[in-house]
């Protein structure tokens, strides 16, 4: 009985995500998340979701994305937990990632970053 308790945060993360420690999708810290334009026709509404899912739904918007890291910061949750919650919400069709119009090679991406930074420098 004198064993030290495990970090409550760890236990919390495990319980909060329904006992899973991995997300179903490979989401990055900077993966952008928006509310789905066409929410699924099901009985599951934000009101009936688990608390963390409900909070993510309450924060996300249809008009303008937030990254996984931003969601984690605003909701004070570890990014690992947000990944799992957002993966589930994506699987169920409640949230999406914005779809870029066309693919962009890394070189063009770097060029665009460079242009943007140079515009800030003047």
């Amino acid at each position: 009985m004198s064993r030290p308790r495990r970090d409550p945060d760890l236990v919390r993360a495990y319980v909060r995500t329904g006992g899973r420690s991995r997300a179903t999708r490979d989401l990055d810290l900077v993966t952008l998340v928006v509310t789905a334009k066409n929410p699924p026709k099901s009985n599951v509404t934000p009101q009936t979701m688990p608390p963390d899912s409900r909070r993510v739904m309450g924060l996300c918007s249809r008009h303008g994305a937030l990254s996984i890291a931003e969601i984690a910061a605003y909701l004070d949750l570890p990014p690992s937990v947000v990944r799992i919650v957002v993966s589930d919400l994506m699987d169920a069709g409640h949230v999406d990632s914005p779809v870029p119009a066309e693919t962009m090679p890394e070189l063009s991406m770097l060029e665009e970053v460079l242009h943007g930074l140079r515009a800030l420098a003047v």
Binding site: R6, D7, D9, L10, A13, D28, L29, V30, T31, L32, P46, Q47, R54, R55, G58, L59, S61, H63, G64, A65, L66, S67, A69, E70, A72, A73, Y74, L75, D76, P78, P79, S80, P98, V99, P100, A101, M104, E106, L107, M109, L110, E111, E112, V113, L114, H115, G116, L117, R118, L120, A121
Partner: protein
């Protein structure tokens, strides 16, 4: 639904036209000015997120199980710059120590590159950060954060002290000064661009 937010500021959403995101790391040891740097260039009030990790312990048998490992909370400060109508750049202040390796995996995956901040009063502390980046294959540039009262050295002396590759860009910044921070980021991204462009 009540207030969902625990950080009480208004939410700064990414512009609706933005569909892509990329990240750069601002790496360096504790107290080197990462948070100040991120705050100087970010268009949003810098945000903080915390992750609980299992510290990579040196010389300890991992098979000993949970009790033999140490759980630590690592904080990351990050900011955002919308660089075009379509693209958001995120900057993550990244703790340099090797014991935060689990965090590094997450941060370095998909990162375009890193700007390493160094302090001339503690140059030896940069070795660990540089080694971790090299191991992970994250391309980087180095910026000396010029603290008030710290001895100024010629950049060439610092390059030698850090044993940097001749191709690695080395600049100096004042992490409190936005213009110098933006210039350092430009230096890094120019380097990343030419490096990729010249690849066969």
């Amino acid at each position: 639904m009540g207030s969902a937010l625990s950080q009480s500021e208004a939410v700064d959403y990414v512009a609706e036209t933005v569909t892509r995101s990329v990240k750069l790391l601002v790496a360096g040891n504790f107290g080197v000015g990462k948070t100040t740097f991120v705050g100087s260039v970010s268009e949003i009030k810098p945000l903080r997120t915390e992750e609980t990790i299992t510290e990579a312990s040196v010389g300890v048998d991992d098979l000993a199980g949970l009790d033999g490992k140490t759980q630590t909370t690592v904080a990351m400060d990050f900011g955002r710059i919308t660089v075009s109508a379509q693209l958001a750049l995120y900057l993550f202040g990244t703790p340099g120590q090797r014991r935060f390796l689990p965090m590094w995996d997450d941060l370095s995956k998909g990162a375009l590159g890193a700007l390493v901040l160094v302090d001339t009063r503690r140059l030896d502390h940069a070795d660990e950060v540089l080694a971790v980046l090299e191991e992970r294959g994250v391309p980087f540039a180095v910026a000396v954060n010029e603290f008030d009262g710290a001895t100024r050295y010629a950049l060439e002396e610092i390059r030698e002290a850090l044993d940097l590759d001749p191709a690695t860009p080395l600049t100096s910044v004042d992490a409190r000064d936005r213009a110098t921070c933006v210039r350092a980021l430009i230096t890094l991204v120019e380097f990343l661009f030419h490096r990729l462009e010249s690849r066969p």
